[in-house]
């Protein structure tokens, strides 16, 4: 039972990560491979604050979101100057820098050993300790992120993001300050990723740099693409499928050393297969990158 709850909690965390990345990749059309960095910034902010300052969970949540969105603004600005593949490289650089800091700044991050003993959250006297309580917390926050994304996408703001994805020249000619939109969407997306990080840190009670590598970013991208980039339910479906799938491998009875490798192959294979035969993902309408040009 606890195992099942654990899988559900991880689905919620990845649904938040994928939902937030979807705003950037799926709706605005900017391919970022730095999402695990924002996830990590959120997790480490919460860990450091609760260990060194003994701050409460909600304050950690707000501060982690704030710190991460500032970092998001940092990476949003280069997106105004570089396009396409070059932007991907900029985000990759950012991802590597953040990993480097987490891995080397011993005083704050504990280096490769990470930070153990992150306390369980207490929200207005409600002590969250059991799996079912964590699932409630993660579920509520995932729903909030979903609703915020929903409202953004259905608004005129969201319409402009989709215009930027397809044709920046048209958006400029329609009087939209696309630079401001790109930076804002990055800030919102990064803050949301930090929320996932905060839940993760308090739930696992331990953070270390290996959870926030570029492989993790690519895993989140896979969720977005396989679920359906540019659709609201895509990231949710993607998170369910991609988090559950490797768990199913356990039941086939593969030794864990092989299962870990098979997992990576599975993700890679799925990503390639979807890009070739179903670029719109399981439930999406928007064909990622394929038809950005005119019909």
């Amino acid at each position: 039972m606890e195992y099942l709850l654990h899988v559900l909690i991880m689905i919620c965390i990845y649904a938040i990560l994928a939902q937030s990345l979807n705003l950037v990749i799926g709706y605005t059309g900017l391919l970022s491979i730095a999402h695990a960095a924002f996830y990590g910034i959120g997790a480490y902010s919460a860990a450091i604050m609760s260990l060194k300052l003994e701050t409460p969970f909600l304050l950690n949540l707000v501060c982690a979101g704030g710190i991460s969105s500032l970092a998001g603004a940092l990476i949003g600005f280069p997106s105004l100057r570089v396009k396409g593949d070059y932007f991907v490289i900029v985000t990759f650089g950012f991802q590597v820098i953040v990993f480097g800091i987490l891995n080397n700044w011993f005083f704050f991050t504990g280096g490769p050993m990470g930070l153990p003993g992150i306390p369980q959250p207490v929200i207005f006297g409600w002590h969250i300790s059991s799996h079912i309580e964590f699932l409630t917390l993660a579920g509520v926050l995932a729903s909030v992120v979903f609703l915020i994304s929903h409202r953004i996408i259905k608004s005129p703001f969201g319409r402009i993001l989709q215009a930027i994805r397809e044709d920046e020249v048209f958006a400029l000619a329609a009087g939209k300050n696309i630079a401001a939109y790109k930076v804002s969407v990055f800030m919102v997306s990064s803050a949301m990723a930090a929320i996932a990080g905060v839940i993760y840190a308090h739930y696992i009670s331990f953070v270390d740099p290996t959870s926030f590598t570029v492989m993790e970013s690519i895993f989140i991208i896979s969720i977005v693409i396989i679920g359906g980039a540019g659709s609201l339910w895509g990231p949710v479906i993607g998170a369910i499928v991609l988090v559950t799938l490797p768990e199913l491998l356990r039941f086939i009875g593969l030794p864990s050393s092989i299962a870990a490798n098979i997992r990576q192959i599975l993700y890679g294979g799925l990503l390639v297969a979807f890009m070739m035969w179903r670029p719109q993902g399981l439930v999406g309408k928007f064909r990622f990158r394929l038809e950005n040009a005119k019909k």
Partner: protein
């Protein structure tokens, strides 16, 4: 100050040594339709790109309703009240026809993130009003039954029509239309020309680039003939057509 609606003086722009605009000057009155004609490569589209801020001029100045446009970014110029269409017909093809028009309204409260969350009523009320006017504009243009189709499903002529409706939705005072009737069926040409010729009644000023001389003669009050980046001739359609310099340039 009727003359100061759009003042262009001494524009220069070259691409790799080829002069696209050579000391180009002109002055436009409000409420007129101006045809911009000339051979391919005369610099007509470059002029549009310079006015709208997509390409910087090397020298010269443009003032629109008394406001200097030099060095202003494209989106700011658009928000001053200049709308344009593109020769290679730009629309957002993956969203609906209605959404393309909605996108074109300027200064919507719902375009600000803070308003979506902290002033949702203002944003949604504004959106509802915009939707109403967008629907009526599209119905008037004969696209009323296509509202929810994606823009990519329209025919080429309908797409050109939609791009003009988008310019109208922007509420701009100056419309720059790049080949609005090139390559489309005669019935649609009539439709688009009738929309264009109605614009001055709403106080709008239009510049159209067009190779179809019949269309130009039909709707334009004045015509500017350009060649090699310079203004060769200006006058009524008939005057320009009979200007020996124009005949010479076309024969070259």
């Amino acid at each position: 100050m009727k003359n100061s609606f759009l003042e262009i003086s001494g524009l220069n722009k070259s691409f790799d040594g080829v002069k696209a605009l050579a000391d180009f000057s002109c002055s436009l009155e409000q409420g007129k339709i101006i045809g911009l004609i000339g051979p391919n490569g005369a610099g007509k589209t470059t002029l549009f790109n310079v006015i709208t801020g997509f390409i910087p001029a090397e020298s010269g100045r443009i003032s629109f309703q008394g406001i200097e446009l030099h060095k202003k970014p494209a989106y700011k110029i658009a928000n001053l009240g200049i709308a344009r269409t593109f020769q290679d017909l730009r629309l957002i093809y993956q969203i609906s026809v209605l959404e393309n028009v909605l996108l074109s309204f300027r200064n919507q409260p719902g375009e600000k993130l803070s308003n979506i969350f902290f002033k949702p009523k203002v944003s949604s009320k504004h959106e509802t009003n915009n939707k109403k006017s967008a629907v009526s504009m599209l119905e008037e243009a004969g696209l009323g039954d296509k509202l929810n189709d994606s823009a990519s499903e329209l025919s080429y002529g309908q797409q050109k029509l939609l791009s003009i409706v988008c310019c109208l939705a922007s509420g701009a005072d100056l419309l720059l239309l790049d080949e609005p009737v090139a390559g489309i069926a005669p019935a649609m040409i009539e439709k688009i020309l009738s929309i264009i010729s109605d614009l001055p009644k709403q106080g709008k000023t239009v510049i159209i680039i067009e190779h179809n001389m019949d269309a130009v003669t039909q709707v334009c009050n004045r015509v500017i003939f350009m060649d090699a980046g310079a203004k060769i001739s200006e006058g009524t359609p008939d005057e320009v057509r009979k200007d020996p310099k124009v005949i010479e340039a076309y024969l070259d």
